[in-house]
């Protein structure tokens, strides 16, 4: 028995340690000490984030059951950071409404985070499955956290039942994959994949779980209801952290495991992207509730993220990670402001934002920046992330897809501007009175603010992400997947620049003829 594997799982172990400390503290600390539970949790969490930031190289443990790469580590850092921001935004809310359950809130959230860690780092379908379940079952408890709130309960039911349904389909897909290949290890599977219909079916059914988590259309229907019903902080968590995990896992699995069957999943993703972006945008236009609105916005953002998967290149991975980082700041800022406003005025209607700038200029400015960033307006970070993810798709020759996505950005700009319009332009006789938010929220908002403003212009973030992603892809021998060679477009792109060399490891799988080709 070799337990050294645990030592390699630095990020997870630190998180588990954190979970245990908090659990025990919550259980055994005297009532007085429980007052400092939340600050302590945040502080320890910062430590955990710092640990995840330490450089790491690609490695495997437990016979390939667990594997990590710099990119995965970065994704974990991002998720942790996002969670921390959610915690900061939740502090006051917990204190006011659920002080009794504060330990549970942190515990459950961190458990789902752990599940997401394993989603990202899984090297085996079972690991992945447990990870995704760990990331969704406790999450449903969080969704119905406000027990007295009927909407919250309804959202919880919708979430858990739909999640179970999706995971059932996903599980069925895994079973087909198992039947088709005889292995559940990510590293073994590519060799066994020949692109038979059974395998393709397995793959697509399996992906249901991920698509569901990312809430891509047509797997999205729960999203808006759950975001609306759940406590705002939980919606924020769902929209950012959970999505990050799913996106990174989607990329890893589709490239690492199903890279050889790109020809099969590419049209599927193509359609999903177009549907997600377009339909979600159409829905978002009509929304009157800010949380529902943000839900649809996050669906369409997810569509953009999948562009990075379609690109299937190191730049694609960078694009996804970077997009998630930028998206995290902007979306959390939006949800943060939404939660503050909601607590103040008691509802989440967009109409209550009318004239907000007059009374609460800072909140409005932050919200506006968040909206601009989500819409991809320079000099905010969202512009850069959109540009790069589009660039990675164009690099692979997906002109039409990118064109559709780009035209959709106009629709999205429209509804993001509606929020800005509400705050700055719409007249309101009695706007929300001026209020002071608590210091934790303010710290979070300042962090988001700087994130939105700086993470684009300061190229360090992108460049670092790119280094990590490239390194990860090279280590997995995946820097040049098959998707690069054949493009959907009739016109091949001559003189395409690929700054990494294809490695041989993948060539065996890459050269499989697909049965249906």
């Amino acid at each position: 028995m070799d337990f050294s594997g645990f030592l390699m799982m630095r990020d997870e172990i630190s998180l588990v340690a954190l979970i245990l400390i908090l659990l025990l503290y919550d259980l055994f600390a005297p009532a007085k000490a429980r007052k400092v539970f939340q600050p302590l949790a945040c502080l320890l969490f910062v430590v955990q984030i710092v640990i995840t930031l330490l450089p790491v190289s690609s490695l495997e443990a437990f016979g390939g059951m667990y594997q990590t790469t710099p990119a995965a580590s970065l994704a974990k850092t991002l998720m942790s950071a996002g969670t921390l921001l959610v915690f900061l935004f939740s502090k006051k809310w917990i204190e006011e409404k659920h002080e009794i359950a504060q330990g549970e809130f942190y515990f459950l959230t961190l458990c789902t985070l752990l599940g997401m860690y394993f989603m990202v780092s899984a090297g085996h379908f079972l690991m992945f499955f447990i990870g995704i379940e760990l990331a969704s079952i406790p999450l449903s408890c969080l969704v119905s956290f406000s027990k007295k709130d009927g909407l919250s309960a309804e959202a919880g039911a919708k979430f858990i039942l739909n999640a179970a349904f999706a995971s059932g389909i996903s599980l069925f897909g895994i079973s087909l994959l198992y039947g088709g290949t005889g292995t559940l290890y990510f590293s073994d599977m590519p060799v066994a994949l020949q692109g038979t219909p059974l395998q393709i079916a397995g793959m697509i059914l399996f992906a249901t779980g991920l698509f569901f988590k990312m809430s891509l259309i047509p797997y999205h229907s729960w999203t808006a209801d759950v975001y609306q019903g759940a406590p705002t902080q939980v919606s924020a968590y769902l929209s950012v952290v959970s999505k990050t995990a799913a996106a990174v896992a989607l990329f890893t699995i589709f490239i690492k495991v199903f890279g050889g069957m790109a020809a099969s999943w590419r049209p599927v993703l193509y359609i999903i992207i177009i549907l997600s972006i377009t339909i979600a945008n159409l829905f978002a236009i009509k929304q009157k509730n800010i949380k529902r609105f943000l839900a649809y916005s996050s669906i369409s953002q997810a569509g953009y993220i999948v562009l990075g998967v379609v690109a299937a290149s190191p730049q694609g991975l960078t694009g996804i990670l970077y997009y998630m980082m930028v998206y995290m700041f902007a979306n959390l800022a939006a949800f943060g402001v939404a939660s503050l406003v909601e607590r103040q005025c008691g509802n989440a209607e967009i109409a209550s934002y009318n004239g907000l700038y007059k009374t609460n200029p800072w909140l409005s400015v932050l919200m506006m920046f968040a909206m601009f960033s989500l819409a991809g307006i320079p000099p905010f970070a969202g512009f850069f992330s959109k540009f790069f993810i589009f660039a990675s798709a164009v690099q692979q020759g997906y002109y039409i897809l990118v064109l559709i996505a780009l035209l959709n950005t106009i629709i999205s700009l429209f509804y993001y501007l509606l929020i800005v319009k509400a705050m700055f332009i719409n007249p309101n006789e009695s706007p929300l009175p001026r209020f002071r938010s608590d210091s934790y929220s303010r710290i979070a908002m300042v962090l988001c603010f700087f994130g939105i403003v700086l993470s684009g212009i300061v190229s360090f973030f992108y460049n670092k992400t790119n280094d990590m992603a490239t390194e990860s892809m090279e280590m997995c021998g995946l820097s040049r997947p098959k998707a690069v060679e054949e493009t959907l477009d009739a016109n091949p792109v001559p003189g395409q620049t690929l700054n990494t060399q294809g490695s041989t490891a993948m060539n065996a799988t890459a050269s499989w003829p697909s049965v249906l080709e």
Partner: protein, 496 residues
């Protein structure tokens, strides 16, 4: 620090200063100082540029500097200017300067207004100094988005509709543009997003045919290319004065500038092949805008349609692809920029007094406010191409240049475009006749006053600029010729 970066740094510093300012007066002073500095810097740049050229420096771009930014995509912050950029910077500086003074009494939220204004100018200047496609595009969008709030908050009339329409249409253009830029970069196989380097490599024809229209329309939307021009009337009509000035005066020039600097320069083959489509569209723009202006009743609408016509002429001339016509196009950009700014400034001042822009409700204003009246007449004369003012110089270059085209199709189109000079006269004189001349329509107007110093200053500056181009176009032409040489060459080579 690179000389050119000043043009981005000053507005950013202005932003910071405004951010810290507390009162209206402070905001004004900071803006005015910044704008003056920009103007001085632009003039200094012009002088240094001229000196450098005089000293025999024949590099395409001067004062270049470059720094890595996103190495993964070979994106850098590369700046540099040629004669055309210098002129555009001068134009922008003048209009920003005059715009600040025109919005001296802006209400409400002066601080925020000036901040957005500064952001807009950052974008404009950044665009003109950039050589890197990405940076250029970024600044382009930076310049677009403040329009939404500037119109939405400080505008008038159906401002919300107009602001949204304008923003969405322009951003739709820039969405096409983004794809175009990416296509250019990947298509060229260049190892840099620097325009000058991409120009060295050639993009395959099949790709050019796809990306050229995208890029050209992308920029063309901002250049009021028919039928993507309808943001312009509503937008201009609703925008506050200085914003209309800056938008019509400078922002619309971004479109034209981008069209030749990016679309035509980098994809000359497709430009040659597809020019006819856009020539027809721009030809329509020219005549159509002018005709539409004839029956408008709102001063700003008249001017906006006139902009459609004039900017159409810019793109039209660019597509003629010879030095003379393109020189004319650049001159038309300058000229149109200055005179529309003047127009909008005057309209704003008149509107500020009469509280109407409906030409039927005004009359005999010349008697009441002679300064504004005379300035309006001068602007009108510049617009209809009176020799001695900038419009004439530009139009003649365009017409003569276009007519030198050996292809009959081009010459016939030129003749159609020439008709605009008559139609322009019709609507300009109609307005002047209606609002300035004749008996006073509204007795309440008799009490109105003429312009005060901070209104006179921008007007005088603009008139001087218009006249100086009109009287002595030689130096401008020389700079433009020099700057156009490589572009025209690549277009000519591609045509063969």
């Amino acid at each position: 620090m690179n000389l050119l970066s000043i043009f981005v740094v000053i507005p950013v510093l202005m932003l910071a200063g405004l951010f810290l300012s507390r009162t209206r007066q402070q905001a004004r002073v900071i803006s005015a100082t910044g704008a003056s500095l920009l103007l001085v810097a632009a003039v200094v740049l012009g002088v240094l540029f001229a000196a450098e050229r005089h000293a025999g420096n024949t590099a395409e771009m001067l004062f270049t500097a470059s720094a890595q930014w996103f190495p993964a995509w070979n994106i850098g912050y590369s700046v540099g200017v040629d004669g055309i950029s210098v002129l555009m910077i001068l134009l922008s500086a003048i209009i920003v300067f005059t715009g600040i003074f025109t919005s001296w009494n802006i209400d409400p939220l002066p601080k925020e207004y000036f901040m957005w204004f500064c952001l807009l100018s950052t974008g404009v200047f950044g665009f003109f100094i950039s050589l890197d496609l990405f940076t250029m595009f970024m600044f382009y969008e930076v310049a677009l988005i403040p329009m939404y709030l500037l119109i939405g908050v400080w505008g008038s009339g159906k401002k919300e509709y107009a602001a949204m329409k304008l923003t969405l249409m322009l951003m739709a253009g820039s969405a096409l543009l983004m794809l175009g830029i990416l296509g250019i970069y990947f298509g060229s196989g260049a190892t840099s997003m620097n325009i000058m380097e991409i120009a060295q490599s050639s993009i395959p024809m099949a790709l050019q045919k796809f990306f050229f229209p995208l890029t050209f329309i992308g920029f063309g939307v901002l250049g009021a290319l028919f039928p993507f021009h309808t943001w312009s009337p509503d937008g201009h009509a609703s925008a506050p004065t200085a914003v209309s000035m800056l938008h019509a005066g400078v922002l619309m020039k971004l479109g034209g500038y981008g069209c030749f600097r990016v679309a035509m320069f980098l994809m000359p083959e497709a430009a040659n092949e597809l020019a006819w489509i856009f020539l027809i569209l721009t030809g329509i723009s020219v005549v159509y805008g002018a005709f539409s202006a004839c029956v408008q009743k709102d001063l700003k609408y008249i001017n906006a349609y006139s902009s459609v016509s004039h900017c159409g002429l810019v793109l039209f001339a660019l597509l003629m692809m010879n030095t003379t016509a393109m020189t004319g196009a650049i001159m038309q950009m300058l000229s149109h920029g200055l005179m529309t700014a003047l127009f909008f400034a005057l309209i704003g001042m008149i509107y500020g007094r009469t509280h109407t822009r409906d030409i039927r409700e005004m009359g005999g204003l010349m008697k009441i406010m002679p300064f504004l009246g005379v300035a309006y007449v001068i602007a009108g004369l510049a617009s209809l191409g009176l020799p001695g003012l900038s419009g004439f110089v530009a139009e003649m270059n365009v017409f003569v240049g276009s007519f030198q085209h050996s292809d009959t199709f081009h010459r016939v189109l030129t003749l159609i475009a020439v008709t605009s000079i008559v139609i322009t006269a019709v609507y300009i004189l109609r307005v002047i006749g209606k609002i300035l001349y004749g008996p006073v329509q509204n007795q309440a107007h008799l009490k109105l006053t003429d312009a005060v110093w901070f209104e006179r200053l921008p007007v005088v500056v603009l008139i001087i600029a218009i006249a100086s181009i009109g009287l002595y176009p030689g130096w401008i032409a020389e700079w433009i010729h020099q700057a156009l040489a490589p572009i025209v060459e690549s277009l000519t080579v591609a045509a063969l």
